[in-house]
């Protein structure tokens, strides 16, 4: 899928293949959304090599700057994409990420990432270990954890509107997304 106009967001799916999600359509109303198909058994390949290939695929689309969403295991791929091309990746979203790899070189590089990272965790997720939020907070320089209420591991499928609105706001405003911008006026038509 390559749909929409605006700042490019690259979406990396979880294990089990790319599933269409209403959240992609919602994001495509404001952003250019590119979903990339990952190999069926990516764990057998080097994650670093996979990230390098994906960066090349994005570059081949003529995209110089983009944000990336990594879902589940693909969170590590997303972080590697940013490590390998720090000048290209603006913001990183990790949706229900697994435990970060205990790999010295990865940890060293991830700790130096300048990009803001949004970690999304579903409150009904029985798969993602609960300590993940803390582990990413310790690992990364700029990490923001958000719990998505009522979502299990597939957050973008379970709460598509919440996912799209949160990701859109974060990708646009980065760390400043903590400050509310929407109005609370009851009758704004005045």
């Amino acid at each position: 899928m390559d749909r929409g106009k605006g700042h490019p967001i690259v979406y990396l799916h979880e294990n089990g293949g790319l599933q269409p999600s209403p959240s992609h359509e919602l994001l495509a109303q404001t952003f250019r959304v590119i979903t990339l198909e990952l190999p069926e058994n990516p764990r057998s390949a080097s994650i670093e090599d996979l990230a390098r290939n994906l960066n090349a695929a994005v570059a081949a689309l003529g995209i110089e700057r983009y944000s990336v969403i990594g879902t589940s295991f693909a969170s590590t791929v997303a972080l590697w994409m940013a490590i390998l091309r720090p000048e290209s990746v603006e913001a990183i979203v990790l949706s229900a990420p697994g435990v970060p790899p205990r790999d010295e070189s990865f940890e060293k590089c991830a700790a130096e990432l300048p990009q803001p990272v949004l970690v999304l965790l579903g409150t009904d997720d029985k798969v993602t270990p609960p300590e993940c939020g803390r582990l990413y907070s310790e690992l990364l320089r700029s990490c923001h954890i958000v719990f998505v209420y009522g979502a299990a591991q597939a957050i973008d499928a379970d709460r598509p509107e919440a996912f799209a609105s949160l990701v859109g706001d974060f990708v646009t405003r980065k760390e400043q997304f903590v400050v509310r911008e929407t109005s609370a006026l009851i009758h704004p038509e005045r």
């Binding site: 939020g133 803390r134 954890i145 958000v146 719990f147 009522g150 709460r159 919440a162 997304f177 400050v179």
Partner: protein, 364 residues
């Protein structure tokens, strides 16, 4: 396992005012009476603490002389200084109409100020409360479920976090102070309806029965225990609270004579016909509409005693009534409401219960 008692003094406005109106206009209000009412409340809580009551209770109600604690957290904060030994049970804030992060923060403050004596009630409140802060009662259960999850997360999550909910949205939360009790203060909620009992059981929350009857609470507590078992835990009597009005005097005759002035109980929602109809229409009462509305019906004193809604009599009689509540419901805590304020006789009732009933209850 000892049975415990809590004193619930609602800080009732201590002067005659119309009892069939909600909301009651401020034209009936006298600040002197309000100040006196608060002092009486503190005197009663202090006395209960001295006489060995295990807990004291306060709760949230709005726009009514029935209770002058629209924010029970403020009362609980004061009780941290007034009550030296008893636990402070806030039963509770009306969760769906409040800011859950604020609730988590205020509860944490009370737990710290009381050095870990907080009992945290999570209530949906009565239908009228939804008018006070302009919240749609049809969304009450969903708001409640989400808010309780968020409050627990505020207490237990050590990293700053955001919350993307259905009714609540926060981008950064990291509360200070945090509760003394680990992982968090004991939680209770009203479990009279089947939906509420199922939610409490799934979430490891204690059961509370208020303004119901012993037969109805017995049915509800059975449902709660079955659901808890299905969820993998076994509630103990310490997980079950039963609330009843009370008055104890030297003799049965005196106690009944004192209670002759007790007005029939009319729920706040039912004091306003349009409100009551709209709340009913909203689906607020859930699937067990008949049970949830009849448990609150207006009844005479004799029937209320028979149904276990009120404990009245000499210490011996009161003990028997409490024993029945313990045995039939398996409640480990009885939350005793001062039904009608009778000055010195109410103080004596607290003394008598504390000195003559409580020590025997503690042996149940």
């Amino acid at each position: 396992m000892m049975m415990k008692a809590s004193l619930f003094c609602s800080a009732k406005y201590a002067a005659p005012v119309p009892d069939d109106v909600w909301p009651l206009p401020g034209t009936y209000y006298s600040p002197d009476v309000a100040v006196r009412s608060m002092q009486t409340t503190f005197d009663q809580f202090r006395l209960a603490d001295e006489y060995g009551f295990d807990w004291v209770t306060c709760a949230e109600h709005h726009f009514s002389p029935m209770s002058l604690t629209p924010n029970p957290m403020v009362m609980a904060g004061a009780l941290c200084q007034v009550v030296r030994r008893a636990k402070i049970a806030v039963l509770g804030p009306t969760i769906p109409i409040l800011n859950p992060v604020r609730v988590a923060e205020e509860f944490a403050m009370i737990d710290v100020m009381s050095n870990g004596r907080l009992v945290a009630g999570m209530m949906r409140g009565t239908g009228n409360e939804y008018v006070t802060y302009n919240i749609n009662p049809s969304e009450s259960r969903e708001r409640f479920a989400e808010a309780v999850g968020l409050i627990r997360r505020c207490w237990t999550e050590l990293e700053p976090f955001g919350w993307e909910g259905e009714y609540y949205q926060y981008r950064t939360v990291s509360i200070w102070p945090r509760p003394v009790q680990n992982p968090h203060p004991p939680m209770f909620m009203s479990t009279s309806s089947p939906e509420a009992a199922e939610f409490a059981a799934r979430n490891g929350i204690g059961a509370g029965f208020a303004f119901t009857t012993v037969p109805q609470a017995k049915k509800s507590v059975t449902h709660f225990r079955e659901c808890a078992q299905a969820a993998g835990w076994e509630p103990t009597p310490d997980n079950v609270i039963y609330r009843a009005a009370f008055h104890v005097a030297e003799t049965d005759e005196q106690a009944f004579a004192d209670m002759a002035t007790l007005p029939p109980r009319v729920s706040l929602t039912n004091k306003n016909k349009a409100l009551s109809e709209a709340v009913t229409k909203s689906g607020y009462f859930g699937s067990d509409f008949a049970g949830q509305t009849t448990r609150n019906a207006t009844r005479g004193l004799a029937e209320r005693i028979e149904l276990g809604q009120i404990v009245v009599g000499s210490p011996e009689t009161a003990l028997k009534q409490v024993r029945r509540i313990h045995d039939e419901i398996g409640a480990g805590i009885i939350d005793l409401v001062v039904g009608v304020q009778l000055g010195e006789r109410t103080m004596r009732s607290i003394e008598l219960f504390g000195s003559k009933v409580l020590p025997l209850m503690h042996e149940f």
